[in-house]
């Protein structure tokens, strides 16, 4: 690329070359230091000339080099005026690279950036949805406060766009505008509210993300969309799933009552007793008064379960935390298998998952006990993974598996990774305190380690033994003697201090050794570590109180040494101890109690898991990983005592339908009619549809919507491409309509099934299911009439049709039949490549936006 630059240089004489050059010198970034100063300057000059040439290839080369500069972090801001001119370039690649540049530098050059705005405004009206979407993306990404009103307008328009892809981008733009100008919050919430009602799987994730960022407290906006979100969840893209699941977890904790029995785990035998009188699935979660789970609560738990099988670790973790936080405790067990599966993944994933398992394993041991061996440490694991696994193994230890575990730990202690070996020793200590049966075994094992050749291992053992002995001080004189001998060899300060403390505490049990130890220590006092010095002082004080005959002089010698120590802590301690133990005329009442003070019974330390206090953070969050509240962390509320009104989640379907169909289409048309409708025949078909409407008897909202929207789509598609080719657009029309009704039919039947499964308490579900029956019966009659020529309307249509058309329709209709009655779906028809792709895309968009609660045939 750079070799070209000279050639281009000659093509266009740069008028402002000198001026530019001066600018360039001042802005060259420090990271370009290795390149020659002057050559850098020249390069930018070249670039400017290339950008002003009238060849696209030169411009493209220049833009590519500029993007390369941005990527390296070099400053390219002085090229702004030259670049911004190309924003209207016809070449899409140049345009995209200019967009990249604009987003990076517009904030710095606000005035110049305004020059590009009108281009975007024009692009927002482009018939190509990709161009509309990317214009919105860039417009909302250039952080220039002056254009806030323009952005607001663009977002509002895009939120009502027919293409779900553009609406998705609108959802993203909401967050950008909010961070630029929080004052717009109210208006933005309105847009969010509108987009939340969107039924497209493409939009769902993004709008929930916007909701979480802008107004996470407006939980009332979710009510009406709750069931829809639950039902769409499986088909939403993976990233959206994570966001939605996290949001719904919070929602569930505010809207449903707790499914956890207070005395969970104790009442296992009563299960069978309650089982009989409850036909719902929640068998185990009843309290004294039978608890019935809200069907919406159940819906969420049921619909998230398949996602445990996702290939995306974030989705699996999100479902796992949902089960942990809102499902009955007896059902949360299913998540452990999936979490253990994630341990096969990359180191980073393992790290996060292990942390979460560590927290879970403290509270509910049983969940992970069957997978004990999955947490065995391999010598190739990174240290942070090893320590986390060790943590989990400790949490899972119990009477039954402790002997296997201890054998495993023996291998770990010998590990070449000494940090890990030390952690293992601490773990053994914790197991010993938690499980009383093995305390002695552990202790003797640890004592064996005292003769280990590695100092870190020995030191760690000493510290752990100290803690263990503190808990049961009565026996173990032998061990203390053994440790006293270690003082000659061991050099790690913590270990030495620990030994001294132990001897001091037990000085009456080892009366012969203790004074001798003090003697040795007095000799080496000056060369000891501060930590050790403090313990020598303590030992001296304790011996002075219990055995003053032998140790009086020694202690005074040590106190004198301490008095002139360099460290003020030690000088302080020395002064304090002297006043307390050595009786003189000034000493107050305290010295009488000196013995009680020094040799008081001290409580044993609790050996606890470092993950103990993490459970107040929602699992799977950044805050949990850091064990500190991250900015923007949303608390998980406690279960409400009484469930708020569940009827808020009931949906009037008609409302939704009207929302998305542009006004002025009051005509009620049966969706199946669309097979035949052509724009000239609108009168006719609407006639016949009103017939069929009255036939079917009940008017349902769902149908309303479909009728409207499919008509819409047909009109749209016919009006758009008509200029191109009359005939083609005709057939396209028909095909699009077919697709429409087909997906609808299928989806309907599926919806219907779901609804039927649900308890029929809510009105809406009734209404919907009735509509389903209706539509399916319609399509049936259609196919019948196709073969038997019974129905009036169809015959009438037939006359107008060419024969080959009819044949094709016949096969299509039968296909549709299959779809309706076969729950296992066949692939949805996709546009044939013969059609113009943009049109297909747009039609596709329409299709989704209108019929989308249904688009789940594939993954369910």
């Amino acid at each position: 690329m750079s070799s070209n630059s000279f050639a281009y240089n000659e093509q266009s004489g740069g008028g402002e070359a000198t001026e530019l050059g001066q600018e360039a010198t001042s802005t060259i970034s420090p990271s370009g230091a290795f390149g020659l100063f002057s050559s850098d300057l020249k390069k930018n000059e070249d670039l400017k000339q290339m950008l002003e040439s009238n060849k696209d290839s030169a411009k493209l080369d220049a833009m590519k080099r500029i993007v390369g500069m941005i990527a390296k972090g070099k400053n390219a801001s002085e090229l702004f005026p030259a670049v911004v001119k190309n924003v209207a370039s016809k070449n899409i690649e140049i345009k995209k690279l200019v967009y990249v540049y604009l987003v990076r530098y517009a904030e710095e050059q606000q005035d110049l950036a305004l020059l590009s705005i009108s281009t975007f405004q024009r692009a927002l009206k482009d018939p190509n949805q990709l161009i509309r979407a990317s214009a919105l993306r860039v417009l909302s990404s250039i952080r220039v406060p002056i254009i806030v009103p323009i952005m607001m307008l663009a977002i509002k328009e895009a939120a009502a766009d027919l293409s779900p892809y553009v609406r998705k981008n609108a959802a993203h733009a909401i967050q950008k505008l909010y961070s630029l100008d929080p004052e717009q919050k109210e208006m933005l919430i309105e847009v969010i509210e509108k987009l939340l009602k969107d039924k497209s799987i493409l939009v769902a994730g993004s709008v929930v993300m916007a909701f979480e960022e802008v107004c996470p407290d407006r939980i009332d906006l979710i009510h009406k969309n709750y069931r829809k979100l639950c039902n769409l969840l499986v088909d939403v893209e993976e990233w959206g799933q994570v966001v939605i699941i996290h949001m719904l977890t919070r929602y569930a904790r505010t809207q449903f009552v707790s499914p956890w029995r207070e005395d969970d785990g104790l009442e296992d035998n009563e299960k069978s007793f309650y089982d009989s009188d409850d036909e719902q699935k929640e068998k185990t979660d009843k309290r004294k008064k039978p608890y019935t789970m809200d069907p919406d609560h159940r819906l969420l738990i049921r619909n998230t379960k398949p996602l445990l099988q996702s290939r995306n670790a974030a989705v699996v973790m999100a479902v796992a935390q949902l089960y942990w936080h809102i499902s009955p405790k007896s059902e949360a067990g299913i998540i452990s298998k999936s979490l253990v599966r994630l341990l096969r993944s990359n180191r980073e994933v393992q790290y996060i998952v292990l942390q979460n398992i560590a927290t879970m394993s403290i509270q509910r041991k049983g969940m992970f006990e069957p997978y004990l061996k999955s947490f065995y440490v391999r010598s190739t694991d990174p240290t942070m993974i090893k320590t986390l696994k060790l943590e989990i193994l400790t949490n899972l230890a119990n009477e039954a598996n402790i002997s296997t575990l201890l054998r495993e730990f023996q291998t770990y202690v010998k590990s070449q990774d000494k940090q890990f070996a030390a952690a293992t020793i601490q773990t053994i200590g914790r197991c010993a305190t938690n499980i009383s049966e093995v305390t002695d075994t552990c202790l003797s094992g640890l004592v064996c380690l005292l003769s280990n050749r590695d100092e870190i291992v020995v030191a760690e053992s000493v510290v752990v033994i100290k803690k263990l002995l503190q808990m049961q001080p009565a026996q173990h004189g032998e061990i203390i003697k053994h440790m006293a001998k270690l003082l000659d060899s061991i050099t790690v300060p913590v270990a030495r201090a620990s030994i001294l403390w132990l001897i001091g505490e037990n000085c009456e049990r080892v009366p012969k050794i203790a004074p001798d130890v003090l003697r040795k220590m007095a000799k080496s006092f000056t060369s000891e570590d501060d930590l050790v010095k403090l313990q020598i002082l303590n030992l001296g004080a304790k011996l002075y109180l219990t055995n003053s005959k032998q140790t009086k002089l020694l202690t005074q010698y040590i106190l004198n040494l301490g008095k002139y120590d360099q460290n003020y802590d030690i000088r302080d301690r020395t002064r304090f101890i002297r006043q307390l133990i050595v009786p003189n005329e000034k000493s107050g009442a305290l010295s009488k109690y000196a013995k009680k003070i020094f040799l008081a019974q001290k409580p044993a330390p609790l050996l606890e898991s470092p993950f103990k206090d993490r459970d107040h953070f929602q699992l799977g969050t950044l805050s949990h990983t850091l064990n500190a509240k991250a900015a923007g962390y949303l608390e998980l509320s406690n279960w409400p005592e009484v469930a708020p009104d569940p009827s808020v989640r009931n949906v009037e379907v008609i409302d939704l339908a009207k929302e998305w169909t542009p006004a002025g289409k009051a005509k009620n048309e049966n969706p199946t009619k669309k097979f035949y409708s052509e724009s000239e025949e609108e009168e006719d078909s609407s006639d016949s549809s009103s017939d069929s409407g009255s036939e079917s008897g009940s008017e349902s909202g769902e149908e309303d919507e479909e009728g409207d929207s499919s008509e819409d789509s047909s009109e749209d598609s016919s009006s758009e491409p008509e200029s191109e080719s009359g005939h083609q657009s005709d057939t396209e029309n028909r095909r699009a309509a077919k697709r429409n009704s087909k997906t609808k039919g299928k989806g309907d039947s599926k919806d219907g099934k779901k609804e039927n499964e649900k308890s029929k308490t809510s009105d809406s579900s009734n209404a919907e299911s009735s509509s389903v029956e209706e539509s399916s019966s319609d399509s049936e009659s259609e196919s019948e009439s196709e073969s038997e020529s019974e129905s009036r309307k169809v015959t009438k249509e037939k006359e107008k049709k060419a024969k080959q058309d009819r044949n094709r329709l016949a096969t299509d209709a039968s296909l549709l039949d299959l779809d309706d009655f076969n729950p296992v779906s066949t692939p949805v028809a996709l546009p044939t490549p013969a059609l113009s792709p943009s049109l297909i895309a747009d039609l596709e968009g329409l299709n989704l936006s209108t019929s989308s609660s249904v688009i789940s045939p594939l993954r369910t």
Partner: protein, 418 residues
């Protein structure tokens, strides 16, 4: 969500930065370098590092750190999983993901990153869609582009983006229609000193390479689906169908993809196909130790074991090793103390062995642990769990595709303690 991304090479240079929101100064990476220094080894750098105003989440792959900067609460796995997806995409586009390759293709990298995230939230991560938006660079295309002036950037929204099968391109055409499936199983095991198995489990994947015209709808069924204890699917697999019939039914993406990963239930005993006989001792008196290992086949179901590589991390006290293998080649790195022996095929009539002496540092105490031996091997045409594909059917298209299924067993994390 994701604010910025920095790519850092092993020598600590930031060679690429990309911002999706306002610009974050690259000085934020200083916190990362600090942590890196503390961790000494690259794989010990914590994946999550808090700084006063930001959080740094990183993944380490192909000797490159991918560091994402975020400002507010976000599920850490979300970011980590996404970063891995970025690396996978680069690999898919350029064949390899390395610093020189990324630098050479910086414009494509930038365009891809631009499409993958909008305002820090993933926009398009399916490689089938991305490739329609931004075509991967090939030599042919570069030539064509320079002649015709066309570009690498698609000007239409990929239809997949809007359809219910977002992972598949439309209008796929092949003259040879083929579908290949590789069943690859890995054995993770820890074998103790005496040769008994402490833990062993089988993890498997089915990788597919599907080149089929149009919109094929495939079903794949197993002879013994009960073996599969835990599974995770590519989004294309219909979950209900699996639940009810234990059949994989899906419309495949175009090209290479991982259809399924599974775990074989723990109840089944795992056949361990190899054994290692070892005799390693470091003696105190002389500064010489003995070292002898032999590898042999155990339960191989009549197949040959290939590609055997034995590696072992020797203790620090080891100065050098003088060994002679009965076959293959061996190396010992005196700096990292890593012994590696490339054995090759195991011939059951003449078992490969490696014998010799170990010279220890004079004066230093005897290492108290014997080294762990890591084993790699491959067995072709065998799925060690016994999993068998029953049949593969195609619906929705009329042509007859060529179908192929291959089995392979590999060592996963296979360790022998000595």
């Amino acid at each position: 969500m994701i604010h910025s991304l920095f790519l850092i090479n092993s020598s600590g240079d930031i060679f690429l930065e990309k911002h999706w929101k306002s610009v974050v100064s690259r000085s934020v990476c200083d916190y990362f370098f600090e942590a890196q220094e503390r961790a000494t080894e690259a794989e010990n750098v914590p994946p999550v590092i808090p700084t006063p105003h930001h959080y740094l989440l990183s993944v380490y792959r192909h000797k490159i750190f991918f560091v994402a900067v975020i400002q507010t609460e976000v599920p850490p796995l979300f970011v980590i999983e996404f970063l891995h997806r970025v690396v996978d995409t680069f690999q898919d586009y350029f064949g390899v993901c390395s610093e020189p390759v990324i630098k050479d293709n910086v414009v494509v990298v930038y365009e891809v990153l631009e499409e993958m995230l909008d305002n820090g939230f993933p926009l398009a991560t399916e490689s089938n869609i991305l490739k329609e938006l931004i075509k991967p660079p090939t030599i042919l295309r570069t030539v064509v582009n320079t002649i015709t002036g066309s570009t690498n950037v698609g000007d239409q929204l990929p239809t997949g983006q809007l359809s219910v099968v977002p992972w598949r391109r439309t209008g796929v055409k092949y003259t040879n229609n083929e579908a290949y499936f590789d069943v690859v199983e890995e054995i993770d095991a820890i074998i103790d000193k005496s040769g008994s198995t402490i833990t062993a489990e089988i993890q498997g994947v089915i990788d597919a390479c599907v080149k089929l015209t149009g919109m094929p709808d495939l079903t794949l069924s197993f002879m013994n689906p009960r073996l599969l204890d835990d599974v995770s699917f590519h989004p294309c697999v219909r979950f209900k169908r699996w639940e009810s019939e234990r059949i994989l039914s899906f419309i495949p993406p175009d090209g290479n993809f991982r259809l399924l990963s599974y775990h074989v239930s723990a109840q089944n005993l795992v056949a361990i196909p190899v054994y290692v006989k070892h005799n390693i001792s470091f003696r105190d008196s002389t500064s010489l130790g003995r070292f002898e290992i032999t590898v042999g086949p155990k339960q191989t179901m009549g197949k040959t074991i290939e590609g055997v590589i034995v590696t072992s991390q020797m203790p620090k006290g080891v100065l050098n090793m003088s060994l002679s293998p009965s076959q293959g080649t061996h190396t010992f790195d005196p700096v990292t103390k890593m012994l590696s022996w490339d054995v090759g095929k195991i011939n059951p009539q003449k078992l490969p062995s490696l014998k010799g002496t170990v010279s220890l540092q004079a004066g230093a105490s005897r290492p108290d642990e014997n080294p762990t031996i890591n084993l790699q091997f491959k067995i072709q045409q065998l799925a060690i769990s016994g999993l068998k594909v029953n049949r593969l059917d195609m619906y929705g298209e009329k042509y007859k595709p060529f179908k192929g299924i291959k089995y392979m067993t590999k060592a996963g994390k296979f360790q022998v303690r000595t």
